[in-house]
Every structure is written in C-alpha cells, then in structure tokens.
Amino acid sequence: MLSLQHISKYYQTGGNKAYVLNDLSLDIDQGEFVSIMGPSGSGKSTLLNIIGMLDEPTNGYHYFMEQPVHQLKEKQRSALYKQYIGFVFQAYHLIDELTVYENIETPLIYQNIKGAERKALVADMLDRFNIVGKKDLFPAQLSGGQQQLVGIARALIGKPKLLLADEPTGNLNSKQGEEIMELFSKINKEDGVTIIQVTHSEKNAEYGSRIINLLDGRIESTTTL
C-alpha cells in the first residue's frame, strides 16, 4: 500500500544537520495495523506526518497507492490524502463551533456529497459508534473519550483506506484508551482499514499486527505479533 525508501528529514542548524529521520525505509501492506513506538524525539510523529503527506521529507522516495508522492505537486498530494487518508489526533481537534453531527458531516460537505446521502452516512456512523444521543451536543459538552470517538468517526466518514492516529489515547484514561483500541481493532478487522498509530503505551501497541521501534530517526527494531 505504501512504501518509503531512504527517507531522510533534517534541519540545518548552523553548520550541522539535525536529523529527525535518517535514511529510513518502510513498507506497509493493505490491512495492516502498525504501531510506531519510541522515545520522545525519535521521529515518530514526523514519520506519521510524512506518511499522511502533511509534511515532506528532505529526500527519499515515497509511494502511496502505486503513486510516486515525492513527484506529485502539492495540489495532487492533497487530493490524494483527502481521498484515502483519515487522521486522528491526540487532542481530538474537533471544531468547537460545530455539533457532533456537523463535525462528522463536514468532510462530506467538502467532498460535495449531496445532502440526503450525507444524512444517511452520518446517521450510519452515529449509530455504529453509539453516539446518536449525543449528535446535537457541542465538543465542549463531551468527555475526552467521547470527543475522540467523534474524532474517529469524522476520520472514517470519508471511507479512507488508511487511518493515521497520533497518540490517539494520549489524553485519555486507561479505560477510555482501551475502548478506543478495541474500536481500532474492530475497524481494522471488519472494514479492512489499514491503521498506523503512534503510541507510548506498550499495551496499546500490542493491539497492532506489527510494532516498529524508532530511535534517533532510524528503525531500531520491528516486532511482528
């Protein structure tokens, strides 16, 4: 599904190059559930952002769905990620002014999907995540776990092939975290959505099918479960 080859990312500070990612290569297949781990500053988030095309590597080759991302123009790249990738954030990043329903609906609006179809899709998602009763509430009225549920619902509404999650449980307590992880497994297995998550938690990492350990911008070890 995606392939990173000899990816490097560095910042020029004075005469030195500060490497965030250093000649990293990685292939991920359709249907995988990958957990990326590593200490702070090891380049986990940067790697995730590069995969999500929110960030660009300094050099290296990046293929996604058979397309050479490193050769695409900004516009084509964003069209690509809008079509195939969903994002989940540690801080949820819901839009405060919109209700639960509207937050989930927004990506569909931007894809110019007709009102009736939007309604059906959102209703489906609300039902599936068991938050029908919350649909008219604003994010500030929800608990962290509920907000993250909405965040995931929003990420999935566009039927992405790949779900990227940057410490999705980082702001949650262990019970809420567990629920989110169960949900991820279910999405991965039942819908076949490829998931890549960054996490600090060993326990959460083990929900994945593969754990990649980063250290100083390189892959230190890979564990397949």
Binding site: L54, Y110, A155
Partner: protein, 796 residues
Amino acid sequence: MIRNYFKTAWRNIRGNKFYTGINVIGLALGLVISLFILLWVQDELSFNGFNNQAKNIYKVGIIGGTGPTKQVFSVVIAPVATYAKAELPEVKDAVRIMNIGGNTPFKYKDKVFTEDKVAFTDPSYFTIFGFNLISGDKRNPFPADQSVVISRSVAERYFGDEDPIGKVVILGHDEQMKVTGVIEDAPANSTVRYDLLLPISRFNKIAYVEGNVNYDGKTRLSSMDADWSNFSFETYLHLKDGVNLNQVTKKLQAIHERNKPEDKPVPYVTQSLLLTHLYKIGESGGAIETVKTFSIVAVMILVIACINYVNLSTARAMLRAREVSMRKIIGAGKLQLFIQFVVETALMFAIATIIAIGAMYVLLPLYNDFSGKHLTLSLTNYQIWLCIAATLLFTLMATSIYPAMLLSSFEPLKALKGKIAGSLGNVAFRRVLVVVQFSVSVVLIIGTLIIGNQLNFIRNKNLGYDKENVFSFSMRTDMQKHYEAVKAELLKQPGVLSVTRLGANIIDNQGWTGDNDWEGKPAASNLLFRPIQVDETSMPFFKFPMLEGKTFTGAVADSAHFIVNETAVKAMGLKDPIGKRMRLWKTNGTITGVVKDFHISSMHNKIEPVVFTYNPQACWRVYIKTTGVQAHKAVEAATQQWKQYNGQIPFNYSFLDEAFNNLYQKEQRTSALFNLFSAVAIVLSCLGLLGLATYTAQVKTREIGIRKVLGASVAGVVQLLTKEFMLLVGISLAIAIPIAWYAMNKWLADFAYRITIGWQVFALAGVMALLIAFITVSFQSIKAALANPVKSLRSE
C-alpha cells in the same frame, strides 16, 4: 453547501459576542455617520437641480471698488435685467428679485403675521425658476401693482381652506394687496425661495414715481431702470443654449459703461444657477469647502470602521488558525475556506446595515435639527446602497488579504501546534491600520479644538465699540418722524441708560457707496465706503475712540463734516486727514475726525473704510443701552412705544450680543458637527484598539503566565501590553499633527481675524489621544495581568 456556510458564519458570529459586538457596533456607527454625511452632501449638491432649465440660468454679479475695497456684488442694479433682455440676443429672459428683508408685517382680517421671505420681483420669476402658478392667471401673475402671489403654505396659514384668489391682505399699516396667484412652496433645496412675491413695478412706483426715498434725498430719477447706483437687485438671466458667457459679460459691461461712464471699468461676472448655493460668485471658496471637508470626514470614518473590522477579523483569524487547519486536513479546499470567511463578513455587514438603517430612521429628526436640514431617508436612494456596497467591498478586500494569505501560505500542521500565532508578518499590517485610525482621530480632535478656539476668539474679541447690554430695532417711517418723543419717553423708563440711532445695522452693515471724492483722489480709484448716518449722541453711545479731531455736536455745520476710520485714512492715502476736502454723494464737506478701527461685519471680512455722516433724518435704527438687570423692563417700554406708532405690527428687536453670535451660525453648526464626528472617530478607534488589546492579551496569555511565574509584577505586565499601543498612538500623533496644522490653517484663512495655532492645541490633542488609548488598552491588560498563571499555562 451554501446553507452550511451561513450556518457556520452565524455560529461564529454568535459564539464570539465580544468580537461581534465590537464589529457590529463599530460598523453600524460608521455607517450611520457616513450615510448621514452622504445625505447631507447629496442635499448640498442637489441645490437648484430640480429646475430643468438651471443650466441656462445665470446669476449676474458686478465687480466694484478698487484696492482694499474690491468687492463682488451679487445684488446688482435694476437696469441690468432690462437692458440685457432688450439688447442682448443671447438672453431669452431675465428676472430681478429685490429682497424686502425679514419681519415684514402682514395682516388678514384680525390675524397678524410677520414674514421673512418677501420680495419684489418680475413676472418672469415664475417661469424662470419653474414656480408655476397653481392658481391664478399664469400669463399675468401681477395684474396690478397691488397684487401679491403667495406660496401654498402661506395660503393655508392665512386663509385655511378658503380660496385665496382675490382675498385682500394688509401689508404694513394699510396697504391693501390682492392675492392674484398661488405657487407651490419652493423645494428645500432651492436657493431662491420666497413666500410672498410683489410686483417690482410697485417698488418702482413707490421709490421713483411717488417717493422721495432716493439714497440722497435730492436726486429724482424717472424710474429704477435709470438708476445705475442702487445695488439691490438679485438678477438672473435665462440664456439661450450654447451662449458664450464671456461675450455676455463683456456686453453687460459695455452697456453699464455707456450709461455711467464714471464707473469705468466695471467688470461683470456670471454664475450658473447650479453653483449659486455652493460657490461665491466671482470669488473662490464658499460652502463647497464644507462639503469637501465633510465628504473627506465621511470617508475617513468609514475607513476607521472598516479598519476595525479588518483588524479584528485578521487578529481572530490567527486564533482560528487551528480551526482552519483542521478544516484543511479533513478536506476543505482553499476556495471553500475563502468563501466561508467572505460569507461571515457579508453576514456581519448585513446585521450592521440593518442596525444602521434602523438607527438612522430613529435619529434622523435629531440630525435634521443638528444640521439645520430637512433630510429624508429613502431606501430607494441608490447612493446609500452604493455607499454600503463600496464599504462592504473595500472591507471584504482588505479582510480577505489576510485569510487568503493565511490559507495559502501556512502549513496546517504548524497551525495545529499553535506555532502560527504571531509568526506571520501581518502584525505590521495591523499596526499600520491602527496608526491610520489614530491619525484620523487626532486630526479630528485637533480640528475640533481649533474650531472651538476660533469661535471663542470671535465671541470674545473686542469689536472696538461698546455692545454690552444694547438692544436695537428698526423704526418704520412714522416712528422715525417722532424719534425725539420716543427717545424722551424711553429715557424716563427704569433700566434704560441711554438711547441713540444710526442709519445702519452696526453688527452687520450691508451698505456701500462708491459715490465719493476727496482731495487728491487718484483717477483710477474706485474706493467703496461703508456710510453710517449718525446723530450727535451716536459716537459717545458706542464709545468709538476718537484718534483725531472732534465728534459731531449737532451744530448745523456738522452736516458737511465727515468722520472716517483709520482704514479709510490709509485707503485714501491721506497723511493729515483733518480738514481735508471730501465729497460723499452730493454732499461736499471736510473730514473733521478720525475714529479708531472697529468691526462692522463678520470676522470673515477685513475692516473696511467707514465714513460717519451727520444726518439724523436718515437714521432708521434705534439702539438702547440697558442696565442689564432691568433689560426686560427696557424691552417692555420699547414695545409700548412700538405699539403706539405701529399698532398690531409685531415688534422685533435683538440684543447686539445675540445678533453678533448669529453671524457665526454656520461656523457653530460646523463646530457642532465636528464635535460629533471626532467623538465618533475616537469611539470607533477605541473599539478597534480594545479589540486588538484583547487579542494581544489572548495571544500573550502564555507569555504573561510564564513572566508571572518568574516574578513579574502586575504593573510590569500591564506595561508589557500597553507599551506597543502607546508607541503606535505616538506615531499617529507625529503623522496627524502636520496634516491637522495644514488643514486648519486653510480653514482659518477664511477669517480675516483669527487665532494663531499654538503648540498647546497639539499637546492637548496628543495627551487626550494617549490617555484615551491608554485607558482602553489598560483595561484588558490589567485583566490579563491579574489572571492566575496556573490557569493560562495549563492549556499548553
């Protein structure tokens, strides 16, 4: 999709009550004031436009006098119209208007009226100005000399529902005038507007056929068309299409010089009827200056209001970067985001516009009162919408620059992490806008202060004579004959200190004469004098200080004596004026005294040559000095005397102080409007500053928190937040002061007597601006400084 834009925009507007409040109030206030000014300007520019022949109608003026007394007379002599019509092929028709002046008494049955808008005129008045008769004989509005044409409102006041045609009204004491026509009231934007019109042939009959009221009481002329000296007639020519105006004025001059060679050279000028309201004839300046100034002020106030909006919305865009980037990540296109911002602005504008128009409806009567106009607000007035649309467009463009830049340049990831705030160069953009705002405000503050100072200066200026506790009124012929008896009676009354009379209105002397001569008068000189007829009590009454010679004693020889003022001595070029030969009209005599200069008309005019002549019979205005405390008793006594000679005719008097102040009504109005405008400009600027200060405090919450943890005091934090704004206001001062100085010097140049602009005004304006800005900003700063740092740091 579109519904969604509106929904989101509405949520944002509602969700941020503080910002929305500032924005909507600011925009609405700016719109109200600018639209009010727009209405005012529209009205000013519309004068005489209702007359569809206006472009071919020209007012005639004559340039008279030489040297310091060079003047453009906008009222001219009677023969101009007659000769122009008879001899000039370019002229279709001509009309003369001789204003009778205020307080003309009329009576119908037992109802008494005093009318201000009464004139003698030619029958062509009705066709040239488009005031067609709605009843009466159109072809012959004045069948007899005793005819009067009245306006509809006069007809209603006098006769109610009855048919006015054929009714007889009494003019003055006993002159019977028959109503022979009714016209519509002249529109409010007509410069020519009279309520009662009498045939000019009647004036001719009274003054030249029967009367002996020629200016010198000696010459007899057969008719007013033979009188080349009586400058009393406002004259308009209705010209044919495509006429060469230059030719017309040349021909008029030739006619004049042929008939009165001693006036040579006597250039004529013309002015389109469309310009008479806004421009002075033959001179620069006029009401157009005020129109221009107010238009600029209107634009400035709109700019300030827009700047508020731009500043606040761009500042808020920073705070909203997180939302915007999130929308980008979940699939929003740039255009979609852009439309979202535009819809929000448009919605805000719509709200402000509705509020503004509502407020205008409520405030219009107040504004009319304030501006002395009769403006109406009509939603079909397309210029109002043009003004709103232009403002909206300008604001949209300005507000869009920032979001557009934000949307295209930033990386969503950084914005999510809050790194975007403060990192873009647009802080400078906003600073520039704040400087513009405050510069405008400071210019307006300085303008207000200087106008106030000048009006004060005028009010308190020593006029060169004693005007304290003096009231005056004009006598009618009967009373004038019995003046001595009236005076004796008045002097017996408590409260009356002394009584005198003059042949002039001392506050605003309108008389001129160029019919003069003196020892050594240069051939080319055509010096104009302001003549004032006096009796022996007049000079001491007003305490005119004599510089040389003696005042009048009432001796027989005094009728051949002249007293002139300093300016006259200078203008005549006399070294040793006492005893010099002088002629005024037909009187040959000598100069026996020189009086110190005093002000004889508005401070707009320089002091002009004045000559006092001893001629008690020609004095028509009584001046009564009272004790002040018992002034009302003196007025009462004068009223009694008036009634004795004039019966029911209402008594009109005025205190010199008031009459003097009334000379500056226009300036007082300008001053009041300027006060209003600068207040609005300041309020708007402060609203903007308040918003920006709030935003800064929000953006700097973290910095403030850290500083407090590190031990910064509240005062230190307040200083941190206010320093920048004070600097901006300081820069505004530096920009505004030269502009204000230049503009206000131009305004003052219209006054012959004026203040010099001192540094104090600028210092005061500067302190005011800084203080207002400081109070505005410190409110937010103190709030931010007092906040608990734990709270502000936790969100990170």
